[in-house]
């Protein structure tokens, strides 16, 4: 007769959390912040084809760190969720909060019920309809389904403490320009010992000035101009 091993639930949850955190810490981090024209997301990413930041809906963007295949699966699920909702109801009924809740439930479900937790942290960003950015939202969702409603900026990934410290120091007070924010983000991601070039960065914005679809990627040229400027 086999005896089942007993592991206390606290230990199991802690093991899972450690496992997920380790996986996330292996990847590169990303920074998102509000600027005078919308929300910008800057990620360290050496690949120019495998994206960490992408468009979900008209005013909603997605960003993920950790295991690529896992957050990309979540990204596609988010696009489907948003497009189905917009088709069944109306485009203005699609919002980041409901999407963030769906993500949180999905991640929480996986964390408690499945053998392997997802090694991801994701961000759902939405720009509001007001010109002064009052309706902007940043939802930071962790591997276990925890949702944090961020106010002005957020760092996702490994070494978040160090990066957050550097970013808080370098980031000018709101309202700030896109260029100032991007320079602060890149300096914070790089740290004191490295310099990051435009080729190893991925940047995108939700631009209030755009038409219906606010999401826009910043090209390498554009990022390089900002970094030298």
């Amino acid at each position: 007769m086999t005896m089942p091993f007993y592991a206390p639930p606290e230990q199991m949850m802690k093991d899972k959390a450690d496992y997920a955190q380790k996986g996330i810490a292996r990847g590169r981090s990303l920074v998102a912040f509000r600027y005078d024209g919308g929300i910008a997301i800057v990620a360290e990413n050496t690949s120019s084809t495998l994206r960490k930041v992408s468009e979900i809906y008209d005013r909603i963007a997605f960003a993920g760190v950790g295991r690529y295949n896992e957050f990309d699966q979540l990204r596609i699920a988010g696009v489907r969720h948003a497009d189905l909702k917009g088709f069944a109801f109306s485009r203005e009924d699609v919002d980041a909060r409901s999407l963030a809740n769906a993500y949180a439930q999905s991640l929480g479900q996986v964390f408690t019920h499945e053998f392997k937790p997802m090694e991801v942290e994701i961000l759902v960003a939405e720009i509001g309809l007001d010109a002064d950015g009052r309706g902007d939202q940043l939802f930071h969702i962790l591997y276990d389904g925890t949702v944090v409603d961020e106010d002005d900026w957020v760092v996702l990934g490994g070494e978040t403490e160090e990066i957050s410290e550097r970013f808080a120091e370098a980031l000018p007070d709101a309202p700030r320009s896109l260029a100032d924010g991007v320079r602060a983000a890149v300096a914070a991601l790089a740290g004191p010992d490295r310099t990051l070039t435009a080729e190893s960065l991925e940047a995108a914005v939700l631009d209030r000035g755009n038409d219906r679809r606010a999401f826009r990627r910043l090209g390498d040229d554009e990022v390089a101009t900002i970094l030298t400027g």
Binding site: L74, A77, V79, R80, D83, L84, F87, A88, S98, S106
Partner: protein
């Protein structure tokens, strides 16, 4: 609404397939099933004439504003020309309800693919997608709910405007220079055919489609002419390398007034010759 995840039956970037897999959307093809009823609804709104013309750096797509239900005019300012995505547009003649629904699904299909795959569908691929949707509508079409679109866009790979016509079975035919669909298409197409010049300028192409719709409205009761009293003009869209742009009413009013002056002076000229 929880996150949709599928496993082995994953629909990929196909929104129409996703819609079939979930119960949240309206039943696709429900109209087709309803149309199996021996008596199709007799007098539902129909939209009519649309034309497309290629010019030197893109395409012009235009449609009149009338919807008819039987012998009645059911709408004076319906729109039949829509952006499909940034570089393409679709103009639809036929039963108004299924037409607008097809456009909505088509627009979303293109955007959904682009977001999921991270790259837009090729122009040819978009034309094929629309063909599949028209074909899916065939059972309804056999019962009178016909939808016949024109698809036009700027092919960013080939750097030129392209036009596609369809028949009710979803057959897709690329037209080199111009196309027309709907009840007034015979008259409109004749005007376009006579006025067309290779490598026309944009302004000339816009004037040509306005003239074509005007002449069609003169001969076909289901096609609406320009209405300066209500300020209703055809919907005209221009698609070039910079994308889809719908012309504003001020420009259309100016061009329509000039067109009407031209027709008037031609008639006055005729009178002069006769006397």
């Amino acid at each position: 609404m929880s996150l949709p995840r599928f496993g082995p039956h994953d629909p990929g970037p196909d929104f129409a397939a996703l819609l079939r897999l979930t119960s949240t959307g309206p039943e696709v093809g429900a109209l087709g099933a309803a149309a199996q009823h021996p008596h199709a609804p007799p007098e539902i709104p129909h939209g009519t004439t649309c034309v497309a013309v290629r010019y030197d750096s893109g395409v012009v797509l235009a449609g009149d504003r009338r919807a008819t239900a039987g012998h009645l005019i059911s709408n004076h300012r319906i729109e039949k020309v829509f952006p499909a995505d940034r570089h393409s547009g679709v103009a639809i003649a036929g039963a108004a309800g299924p037409s607008t629904e097809m456009v909505r699904l088509f627009q979303l299909q293109l955007e959904h693919y682009e977001k999921v795959e991270g790259t837009p569908i090729s122009l040819e691929g978009k034309a094929n997608q629309l063909g599949q949707m028209v074909r899916a509508n065939l059972p309804s079409a056999m019962q009178g709910l016909v939808v016949v679109p024109i698809f036009a866009g700027f092919d960013t790979a080939a750097s030129r405007g392209r036009i596609f016509e369809y028949d009710v079975t979803g057959g897709r035919y690329e037209e080199r220079d111009h196309a027309a669909t709907g009840s007034g298409s015979l008259h409109a197409d004749t005007v376009v055919k006579l006025g067309f010049r290779p490598s026309m300028a944009r302004a000339a192409a816009v004037d040509l489609v306005l003239d074509a719709l005007y002449v069609a409205s003169d001969a076909d009761s289901a096609t609406g002419g320009p209405d300066p009293v209500r300020d209703v003009f055809p919907v005209v869209a221009v698609i070039d390398a910079d994308g889809y742009v719908r012309l504003d009413d001020a420009e259309l009013r100016r061009r329509t007034e000039r067109l009407l002056r031209r027709h008037r002076s031609r008639r006055e000229g005729d009178k002069g010759d006769a006397s």
